[in-house]
Each structure stands twice: as C-alpha cells, then as structure tokens.
C-alpha cells in the first residue's frame, strides 16, 4: 500500500477527567505548571487502610454529567468514561448526525480493574442480606467491558467495539486497536480508558502490589528516577479521545490535532523489571518502525516512570537501547508524578498531554522530582519550551505488559 492510500489515525478530540482537572483546559494548565495534586485519600471507608496518598478526582459531579439511569446502572469508572467521551466528542465536533451511518463510529476502551466500587456494594448485599438482594446491574457494571458497552449504547455508536484488558499498557494498546479499526474502514473511534480504583475493596486489592507507595507524605510518595524512588501512587480518572481516519476527518472540516503513527507492545512477566528493559526497548523499536521514524526524530518522551528503582533503571536503559545516544539528549517527562497513576487511564492521559505538548511546543515538568539519578534529561521544576514534532509515550503494567506509542504533530508527519 502506498503512503497516499494509507488510512492514518488522526486525533481530533480529547476528553480528560483527571485528578488535576476535568476538561482539557484545566488539565493542561495544571500539567504545564507542574502542579501536584497528590493528596491524602479521603474516600469513604478508606481511612484505616495503609495507602495514605492517591490522586483523587474531586471536581467531578457525575449527576451533572451523566443521566440518572447510567448513574444507577454503572460504576464510577464508567461515569468517568462517559463524561470524558462527551468532552472528546464535543472537542472533535463529532455531533450526532443523521447522515452518518451509526456503523461508522466504534468504541474501544482499556480497563485494569472494572467497577470495583459498584461490585463491593453488591457483594456487601450478597453477604449481608443474601443473593436475592444483589441487583441485576451487577452483572454488567463491574465488568471490564462496561465502559465500552455503555459509551456505545449511550452514543448510538454501532461500529466495531472492543475492550483491551492488557494491564496498564492496555491504554496504549487500545489506541493502537482503534488505529487498526480505522485502517480496516471505520471512520471514527471513541477510544481511551478511565479507572476508579480508589474504593475500599479496590484499594485492598492493590495493597498486595509491592510496587505501591505507602509513603504518607504527598510530596515524597512518588518520585521516579530519583534515589528516593519508593514506588508509585495510584490515581483515578483517565481520558477518552476521538480518533478518525485522517482524510475523512479533514473532509468534514475537523481539526487534526496529532497523528498516531506507530505502536509496539511486548510482555515480559509480572514484576520482572530487569526483563522489562528488553521488552520496552523492543516495543519502542516496533513503534518507531511502524511510524517510519528514526530515533533522532523523537523530540520528547512521556515516560512510564514507575518509581521502583529497578523499573526506573530498566526504563532508562531501554530508552538508551532503542534510541542510542539520542536517549540522553531527549527531554523526558512524567507529568503523572503530580496526579498518580490511573492504571490504564495513565498512558491515555499521557497521550493527551503529549498531543497538547506538540501543539503548544512545551514539555511539561515532572512534579516532585529533583536530583535524577539516571542518564536521562528529565524535565523537572518548570515546563520547557521546545520545537516538538514527534512524541514517544511509554507504559508498563505491573503484570508485565510493555507498550510504546509514537505521536506526530498534525503537520509534522512525512507524507
């Protein structure tokens, strides 16, 4: 297939529900200014748990954004996804249109844990009152696929739909799945991930992760790439994007904000951080090859930045393996140190931040991080202006998935 015939994946809409802001504008402002919103866990029933710091989404009013029947029938993670999808569709100007086939728009999400809060409530009914007191919506609300299903039903999107359950890196894998869906002929896909893992049952599930930071000081709990790295802080929220076949998008007058040019994914096993070096390097090489991108073209890296020393070392080495001498010269950022890691939502938020960085010519800083102890140019303190054409977004999951995504500025791609 010649380049002229290629169906490229254009990002035309961004919808964010993040601890540092609902909506792209507040999110970008906080991200660019490097404001950390990590704070004490305040959710009901979590006070006695050893996890003290997280990234909570606090300025989110589900009743104002999601219809009552969806509030009753779905979990908080789906409320986030619906609200983010609305914002992304509005941003893309992809409004309901009787002339557009409902089969032209699909939905893809990634999920790491499903609807834990809803599930906990119904399980309490089960053990507290008996099986006859478990509501039927339990059957769909806590399930990984809930957000894809409900976003597609709510929006009337009957195109190809899917759910990626591939660990935290699934957020990037979902974007790649959407790009393949466009390549096969669908016009647009609403794609992304949002998670709501800050409820008692969900937090208890995470306490088994040795990589979880239990440090009670919000400024010290999540400091990847430093000698004080002590694990990661979890978060809720995420982002949904509208991606469209580039030509179709341009024909309908949409603004193409960036192009998803390449993706690679590998698997190297749970908590085997030393092995993730080779896996992540391979994912980067595959993504660069698909994007027809030389290592020297990467202008900024949005790092996975787990905050576990062995994982940070593996990531730094993977970048050196895949980008060669260019790795140490490329600005690296991890805005998620100011919000926490929203599991599958985290790399989609990073993708949203990367698109905004390309648009604004600014690399946002890495909050709470100083004195980097790896051979990386981590942007700390303040945002750094830069001519940015191509961004690399990295993600790894605690269970061993690694993924890389190459994003090009809309006008920065070779034709």
């Amino acid at each position: 297939m010649s380049a002229g015939e290629r169906r490229r994946c254009a990002v035309t809409g961004i919808g964010v529900v993040a601890p540092n802001g609902t909506g792209t504008e507040p999110f970008w402002k906080a991200t660019r200014e490097g404001i950390s919103v990590l704070d004490r866990v305040t959710r009901e029933g979590c006070g006695q748990l050893p996890l003290k710091v997280a990234g909570e989404v606090r300025d989110f009013d589900p009743g104002g954004l999601v219809e009552e029947r969806f509030l009753v029938q779905t979990d908080r993670f789906t409320h986030f996804a619906m609200a983010a999808a609305d914002l992304a569709l509005e941003d893309a100007g992809l409004v309901p249109d009787d002339d557009r086939s409902p089969f032209a728009v699909g939905v893809v999400t990634a999920a790491g844990s499903g609807g834990g809060e809803f599930g906990q409530r119904e399980l309490q009914h089960l053990w507290g009152q008996g099986p006859r007191h478990v509501g039927p919506y339990q059957s769909i609300a806590w399930f990984y696929a809930a957000s894809t299903g409900q976003v597609s039903i709510r929006g009337g999107f009957k195109g190809p739909c899917g759910v990626v359950a591939s660990d935290e890196a699934g957020g990037l894998d979902a974007l790649a799945h959407a790009a393949r869906t466009l390549a096969r002929g669908t016009d647009a896909v609403v794609v992304g991930a949002a998670e709501a893992p800050l409820a008692p049952y969900s937090i208890v599930c995470q306490l088994g992760y040795e990589d979880l930071s239990l440090v009670p000081d919000p400024d010290r709990a999540y400091r990847p790439f430093t000698s004080r790295a002590c694990g990661f802080v979890p978060a809720e929220g995420g982002a949904m994007l509208v991606v469209e076949e580039e030509r179709t998008a341009r024909e309908r007058g949409a603004e193409v904000r960036a192009v998803i040019a390449g993706h690679g994914a590998t698997f190297t096993g749970a908590s085997r951080w030393a092995e993730s070096r080779a896996g992540l390097a391979r994912a980067i090489e595959v993504a660069l090859a698909e994007a027809e991108c030389a290592p020297e073209e990467i202008d900024v890296v949005f790092a996975d930045a787990l905050g576990v020393p062995a994982a940070d070392r593996a990531e730094a080495l993977a970048l050196a393996d895949a980008l060669g001498g260019h790795a140490a010269r490329t600005p690296v950022t991890a805005p998620k140190t100011g919000t926490g890691r929203a599991y599958c939502g985290a790399p989609v938020l990073d993708t949203a931040a990367a698109v905004l960085s390309l648009e604004h010519g600014v690399v946002p800083p890495t909050p709470n991080v100083v004195d980097v102890c790896h051979d990386l140019d981590v942007v700390t303190g303040w945002a750094r202006p830069a001519e940015l054409r191509t961004a690399l977004v990295l993600s790894r999951g605690l269970m061993g998935s690694n993924a890389a995504l190459v994003l090009r500025r809309a006008d920065g791609s070779p034709s």
Partner: protein
Amino acid sequence: MTDRLTFDQLSALMKSAAGVTVDPKQMAARPDVPFAELGLDSLGLLGIVGELENRFAHPMPEDAERCRSPRDFLDLVNTASPTGA
C-alpha cells in the same frame, strides 16, 4: 389494604432499581407503551421483580420479567399474586 401494585409504585421502583424516571400518571394514561421505550431494559425489570419478591417474600409469576409494558406487568402481577396471603 390491598397489595395490588399501582402505577405509582411501579414508577418508584423503576426509579430506584434502574434510575428511570417516568411520570406515573402518563404511564397510567398510556399503559401499553413498552418498557423499552420508557428507558427500562430487561435487567431493570429483573431488578424490579427481585425487589418485589424480597418485599413480599414470595416469588413473582415466572413470566413477570418478560413483560413488555406496564399494563402487561401489572395485569400479571396483580392477577397471579394474591400478595396479601
């Protein structure tokens, strides 16, 4: 008091079990409008049946969760189920 289920009660159950708001007067005036058109899906009706079974401590008729409209549902539940027993 009789235990006949009323449109008011059905409306309240639709709201609590499925988050669906329907004016009971309108439902009474047009009882054949299907549940699906009112926004209540099959899981929602199943939840209402479960709630009634818990409330009255006996099973509803087997086909109750397959009723398509408020009229069908009330007719079935109220004729088949002398709930005061």
